[in-house]
Amino acid sequence: MSGNDNGYLVGSQLEKMFRAGHFAVTGELGPPQSADPEVIREKASLLKGLVDAVNITDNQTAIVRMSSIGAGTIVLQEGLEPVIQMTCRDRNRLAIQADLLGAHALGMRNLLCLTGDHQIFGNHPTAKNVYDMDSLQMVNMVTEMREKGIFECGDEFKGTKASFLVGAAAAPFADPIEFRPLRLAKKIKAGANFIQTQLVYDVKEFSKYMEKVRDLGVHKEAFIMAGVGPIKSPGMAKYMKNNVPGILVPDDVIDRMSEAGKKWAGKKAADLAPEEKKARSKAWQEEGIKVCIDLIKEIKKIDGVAGVHIMAIEWEEAVKPIVEGADLFPRPEV
């Protein structure tokens, strides 16, 4: 394994949490579409102490934002541990490796390897994409950087290696659905130490997926975190159900959200006075947080799940009640 004397691959807070057998919690922080460090500090303050590490997205949804490593540096200064997200969309193998040397030098130790959303969805749809490698190849490359001390070309590091706890994403409900557990296994075989899944709302289907994952035995080779996220409104639930590939939203979740706003049923936003609109949003958001808490409690019972990844982008305030409500607070000392 790695050259660390302490037995850890990299010794990050996240790795220690996994290795200690605690149910890990990660959050997500979306850098701003600006060069403002205060936005990062503010978001970091909302997550600090509640999560073991926080993912810093990399030009999420192909919209230009402050770089993941730049924002991650600020997050580190704030005393929160980042998980650097790195996509294959914007960088070739030279740029990925160079940026990772920098990230390691700046103290970052957790990495999530992603293929990246296609640029057509973002704010520069006429850009040339890169995709020199795919996420699996990146997982393999960064694993060999840490384990063998070599670059993708095979050359050895001249000095300190870039070592990361290597993460990968999984989409349990995307098509072809029968292939998804196998693809997860493939990512773990390629070197992934931890996995964060796409948003889970359908625990029954997720349990079936995890059963197949356990049959493959790979849940023992990597730490699998289920992706969860609070829903803000019944409309958002329906939108995700119908429009986002790979997300299943069962009717009972939609019903719970609708029920929470029952007092205002049938009313359009335009028909409501501002304070009523606020009250309705509040009722929906409270229920969204409760749904999320209930999901985490159910997911926690599934054998082979090592933690949850809470995606509450642009709603970081929700993380506190979720983590507390799911009895995941305070975070264990490791």
């Binding site: 293929t115 296609h118 996420s135 699996l136 490359m141 072809p176």
Partner: protein
């Protein structure tokens, strides 16, 4: 085949500039079969240009001709005189034909009438789809004869991303998810084990990324560099 699409008439007119004598040169091969730049299209475009120029009260002298293949010198030699006589040659060939004319007749001026689009095939009457990216290192032997380089929006080599839904690519419901196609085909042939093997990063050096490419076959050459 190489497919192409005719540029909008306004763009073509602006490319012609102040030329008085225009030769619209069709190509009898790929762009003929994709109905973009054969003799029929050359004739129609010539008429359109003539009519438009009359309306603009700046009549153009437009003639049209079509050669078998604009991408070979010998076919271009057949129309050497017509090319020399024209102020501008409006080539309806792919980009190769346009460049062949510029290279072979440096005294003449040539502009493209088409946008060269891709290497593909007609999948039904009036529909063409991309099939090959000419990457220089064919992997069809492991992907069941279906190319993820040309047909996956992210050129993935290790299976479908999370944007595959009901057989479609998330970037456009009209685009089939090529990894779904590859998956189905490999399963049907009992070759699914290939899907579990890690495909290493591709060698893009033999693609365009290694610089413009050239093939030299000494066994076929009439004059060698040594001579």
């Amino acid at each position: 085949m190489i497919t192409g699409e005719q540029k909008p008439l306004e763009e073509i007119q602006s490319l012609l500039g102040d030329a008085k004598k225009v030769l619209v040169l069709g190509c009898g091969t790929c762009v003929t079969v994709c109905f973009a730049g054969g003799s029929r299209e050359a004739q129609i475009l010539s008429s359109s240009l003539r009519m438009a120029s009359k309306l603009n009260k700046q009549p153009l002298d437009v003639t049209d001709l079509t050669v078998q293949r604009q991408c070979e010198w010998e076919y271009l030699d057949e129309v050497e005189k017509e090319i020399a006589d024209a102020d501008v040659v409006l080539s309806l060939a792919c980009g190769i034909g346009v460049q062949a004319i510029a290279e072979h007749f440096p005294e003449s001026w040539v502009v493209p009438g088409l946008n060269t689009t891709f290497l593909g095939l007609p999948t039904e009457q009036g529909v063409w789809e991309e099939r090959c990216a000419a990457c220089g290192d064919c992997i069809l032997g492991i992907t069941g004869g279906i190319c993820p380089i040309a047909r996956c929006s992210k050129t993935l080599l290790n299976g479908p991303c999370g944007g595959s839904e009901a057989g479609h690519c998330e970037i456009d419901p009209d685009i089939p998810c090529v990894w779904q196609l590859i998956y189905d085909r490999l399963i049907s042939k009992g070759k699914q084990d290939v899907l579990l093997e890690l495909q290493k990063p591709k060698n893009w050096q033999v693609s365009r990324d290694g610089g413009p490419r050239k093939i030299v076959r000494e066994d076929l050459r009439l004059i060698s560099d040594e001579a």
